[in-house]
């Protein structure tokens, strides 16, 4: 099937089998390998991308369902090759160790902060409860999101 969608602001077209999962379209067809496949069973959130602005698990959506929709992946956070304030905050607060969950964490927190610019710690923890991290114990991820929230409130892009 021929599908058309927008990925990180660019119009894309692809000829796909209906059973192709969105994450495979992104990684294998469009070569956007920033989105990771973790558990592949709808648990871990490593494959999180934004579908029309809402974070979803791209391993649990067919590419054909993205027909006419807007997708944003981690590559879309800072299109000019720099880093987004969220990414800088993850570095500053050591919000990662192995980094496997990080693209998903970033996309979930990006969508979350857009709607909740001044969240409490509890709200942050609830918001990322669908994204699993096996290294950090989440403490520094929460700090990174708080750090980014305050920078974004002060007008960092």
């Amino acid at each position: 099937m021929r599908i058309q969608l927008t990925v990180n602001g660019e119009r894309q077209e692809a000829d796909v089998e209906p059973r192709l999962l969105l994450v495979h379209l992104l990684r294998d067809v469009l070569r956007l390998t920033g989105t990771h496949i973790g558990c592949d069973t709808t648990h871990c959130g490593a494959c999180t991308v934004l579908l029309d602005g809402r974070p979803v698990k791209s391993c649990t959506l067919f590419a054909v369902q993205a027909q006419g929709r807007e997708i944003m992946t981690v590559e879309g956070l800072a299109p000019d090759g720099g880093l987004h304030p969220l990414q800088e905050a993850f570095i500053a607060e050591h919000g990662l160790q192995c980094g496997y969950c990080t693209p998903g964490m970033l996309m979930t927190s990006y969508a979350f902060l857009a709607r909740h610019p001044a969240p409490t710690e509890e709200e942050i923890r609830l918001a990322i409860s669908g994204n699993l991290c096996r290294c950090t114990g989440y403490v520094n991820i929460v700090k990174a999101i708080q750090h980014a929230a305050s920078r974004l409130r002060q007008g960092g892009s």
Partner: protein, 291 residues
Amino acid sequence: MIPAAFEYHAPRSVQEATALLARLGEEAKILSGGQSLIPLMKLRLASPGHLVDINGIPGLADIREADGWLRIGALVRESDLEESELIRTRYPLLHDASRVIADPLVRNLATVAGNLAHADPANDHPAAMLALGAEVVAVGPGGERRIPIAGFFTGPFATALRPDEILVEIRVPSPPPRSGGAYVKLERKVGDFATAAVAVQLALGPGGTCERAGIGLTNVGPTPIKAVEAEAALAGRRLDDATVQRAARLAAEASNPSDDLRGPAEYKRDMVRVLTGRALRKALERAGGGR
């Protein structure tokens, strides 16, 4: 994991969708949120030959209250329910449930109607809808019919829906004054199915006696359970501690859990008792009848 190949259909109206379902028969499955179906397909526990994607059908994504009914369209996502001011203020039982289903990412796609139509006894909305006395509106090639929720779940993963019917809407009777509800779920972690969970909806009379009680139980039997004896033990009474405890015991007796990794049956049955007590007290407080 790659699902088996299937043919994809994206109808633009309910009529077009039911015509497709009628033509394709048992080979077809409806794709709405896909958060239960797609994992099953990836594990090859389901390999439908055709998917009928209803996400492009307009008019099915509304939450509205009119003429004594709350109407939840087939494409209302769990996150829509969670964020709805109407649900939070008027239907706290549904608000509670929407916050503990799966995880926030899954809730952005998963639909309330799919949670019912999938009929997994571990799903959360069946118990909530049993407590609320909801109805399901199904549309088939022959027209529309309403199915009371108490007769909807016919077995594990089985419902009263015919293969050519689509669940287009859930209708919940608007609560009378002095109503309150609560959903209390025991889960090992976010995203897990309930070890046990209990939904309660109460309506109190002007004197504070219970006029109507609905109690639904999650994941403690082969189907969602309506705890009718516990409900009857509350109706017409003041909800003092002894009455609440008696109803909680009756709800535990109505459950039929089995041993699994979440715990032995005896433990789960006792959790039904504990959770029923908690849900009743919370619902009572919300109904304005707490002391």
